[in-house]
Amino acid sequence: MTVLPPRADLQTTDPVLTLTGISKSFPGVRALHDVALELYPGQVTALVGENGAGKSTIVKILTGIYQPDTGAIAVAGQQTHFSTAAAAEAAGVTAIHQETVLFDELTVAENIFLGHAPRGRMGLIDWRAMNEAARALLARIGADLDPSARLRDLGIASKHLVSIARALSIDARVVIMDEPTAALSHKEIHELYALVERLKAEGKAILFISHKFDEIFRIADRWAVFRDGELVGHGMMRDVHEAQLVRLMVGRSVDQIFPKRQPKLGPPALTVAGYCHPTEFDDIRFTLHEGEILGFYGLIGAGRSEVMQSLFGLTKPSKGACRIGDRIAVIRSTAEAIANGIVYVPEDRGTQGAIKGLPIFQNVTLPSLARTSRKGFLRLAEEFRLAREFTSRLDLRAASLDQDVALLSGGNQQKVVIAKWLATKPRVIILDEPTKGIDIGSKAAVHEFMAELAGQGLAVIMVSSEIPEIMGMSDRVIVMREGRMVAEYARDEMTPERLVRAAAGLGDGMEEDRA
């Protein structure tokens, strides 16, 4: 794929930010090569690419954290250097990150004005003026937040609002949003979209990084695709189709995203009856069969992860029983869950899944040490054998099995975590948002592997907030809302509309059929 020539007729205004010939290398890695990018006032440019394509590097160059090896940055036609983060901010470039880089112990107003607080007499901070200005900024973006609230008491969505208010306070011309919706609920996402529209109307140039195609097509005006550190294409959203973007991202055509399979259901593997928790969930009951993929859909906070973590022995249900196969199982700890053949691939890969700092093979064998060791003594050859067996089945990409798992991309970390659990030879595997934040190639590998596992008779539970994934993978789906099961659909009953309606509390979406 060649770089598309810029079409002169579309450029109604001059770009506010221009990158040309940007290259950046780290020892042994070429992160960016001869990248060009233009951002226009009042327009949203979507930046897409697989993990490791160089998106994070370009953000760090734009915010002054990295210096490019070659290439030039121009703001409003003026050549400039972002030698520090402060220089980038002074030039009007600001970023809203996945994990916001704000200060939990400071107040909303302090976060907004950190480094440029209004000064009063003798150079002291004018607190009243600062709080007033913060209130005005928050009102301008329609955020109902108390300027004197401490940041740690706010949710992620509110923290994004504070970041955006900060962007306005420094009169930013360029706002970079790095996967801003990754941790937001449905409602919060829509509020964020509205805010993006408002920023556009104020003439800000927005660089929007996202893995979600539906939102890119919804809010972006332009697109740019990175692959392996290079810009492989760019243009206007209205001239492009999803399939074209995917093709550019992966460098090949991905026509079959979800594997086709013929589920063969075996006997019940897991039966949950009347599971309750004082605050998180109520009366959860379902039967999962061998060879089945059971989807759990719902909004963030619907209690799906809490149910799964309780099944995995992390929290105690206040009532209810669970059977594994035809035996009653009492699960009081994760160790007992694993012994009973239930394993859980957590949503939070960074802190709950992967043990960063330990090499790949040690991550894989951690829950299986009883099997790979003899009388408590490690057998490294056995560990490497086990790690090799399961990582190769998942098509892991790594320099060696002794490599620190922290050095892998998100998708490959996820493969290590899944390999870790498969190595325990489980009967039931629970995958919580298994493809969140990982690149398309790894996604497809994980999906294919799930299908393969179910084909081999493993019982699979998949918690997912992505409708295409739920629709594409599950044989049956349970929708949860506010801690309760509100709907259940067989494969041929699932429609995106029904799922969304049930999750949002608008009925189970089956009324029209019953009527």
């Binding site: 780290f26 160790a335 040490l369 060791s373 320099a399």
Partner: protein
């Protein structure tokens, strides 16, 4: 990008790994100090003098092994020196009452275990941070010792009791040195060759991830506190035997020397990494420095200053070194 089907087990060759390791650097430092000492003093290379020098690190080292594992797991025990004081005091009281040697040793070990168990309960059951808990028990254990002893001293130890701190197993090899080597092997094997050691690394790198991987995190930590208490009890037996007397100020300030030894040995104070061979080498380095300065009649305070500078130096050097290299990550 390497092909998925051909991921090698390891990339580094073992020798290259060794040459780049912290332990290798420490070994070089130890050899350098050894040579400097032998040049500076004609008395240094005498086998009996060298044997005497080992007392500078054997007792500290016995505690440093479990402490290293505890710090790798992300916890710390600052009550070890006070545990020695309490164990020694109760041993002294029993000796005054006429208890035989076996009972004295048993008291030392049980008191050590008990102190460790109390720390373990406070940290793992109540979920309190270990640095706060053990600063508290540091005052508590030594406080008990002061209440029992006041400004008195126990000196009525039976004659045979002196073996643990003054006896020799073979030629110049003292009981303490043999015990140190034995425990170095035991703890080295525990940390580097067993599943338990692997769990300790996992917990130190990511306690939540370890819990989600089915590791009984609280149990592993409790065992580490018990081991630290037990080894403090053993050190109390050795030290009391060597001194032949107990005062409440016994082993004052040792907790910091033990932690210094562990950190000098390359254990990350924030947890997650470090090795027992590193701690052994750090013990040698500290012992050699102390002994060499002693031969040269350098006052104790200068020794403390030197050990402090050495600690800061070895920690700062690698960071300064990486800063001199072109900026990467």
């Amino acid at each position: 990008m390497s092909d998925a089907r051909h991921i090698p087990d390891r990339l580094d060759r073992p020798l290259r790994r060794l040459l780049r390791s912290w332990e290798f650097l420490l070994a070089l430092v130890a050899v350098a100090i050894f040579i400097a000492n032998s040049l500076a003093s004609p008395y240094f290379l005498n086998p009996w003098n060298l044997s005497d020098a080992t007392y500078n690190f054997t007792e500290l080292g016995l505690i440093a092994f479990p402490m290293a594992m505890l710090i790798v797991a992300g916890e710390i025990d600052l009550s070890v020196a006070s545990t020695i004081a309490l164990a020694s005091t109760l041993m002294g009281a029993a000796a005054t009452a006429g208890a035989p040697i076996a009972v004295l040793v048993l008291i030392g070990l049980v008191v050590g275990l008990f102190c460790g168990a109390f720390n373990a309960v406070l940290v793992t059951r109540l979920g309190l941070p270990s640095i706060v808990v053990t600063i508290g028990t540091m005052s508590l254990y030594r406080g008990l010792s002061y209440i029992i002893l006041g400004n008195q001293a126990y000196t009525a130890y039976p004659t045979g009791f002196a073996y643990f701190g003054q006896g020799y197993v073979f030629w110049v090899f003292s009981f303490e040195l043999v015990l140190f080597v034995l425990m170095a092997v035991v703890f080295g094997a525990l940390q580097h060759r067993t599943s338990f050691g692997r769990m300790v690394y996992a917990i130190g790198n990511n306690p939540t991830g370890a819990l989600f991987s089915g590791i009984r995190v609280a149990r592993v930590k409790a065992i580490l506190f018990l081991l630290t208490g037990l080894m403090s009890g053993i050190a109390a037996v050795c030290l009391t035997s060597r001194l032949g007397s107990t005062r409440p100020s016994i082993a004052l300030g040792w907790e910091l020397q033990v932690v210094t030894m562990v950190v000098l040995g390359g254990v990350d104070i924030l947890g997650g990494s470090g090795t027992i061979p590193g701690v052994v080498l750090a013990a040698l380095v500290m012992g050699l420095v102390t002994f060499g300065f002693g031969l040269l009649n350098v006052p104790g305070i200068v020794m403390s200053i030197f050990i402090g500078l050495l600690l800061i130096g070895v920690i700062a050097l690698p960071r300064l070194w990486s800063r001199l290299k072109p900026r990467g990550t």
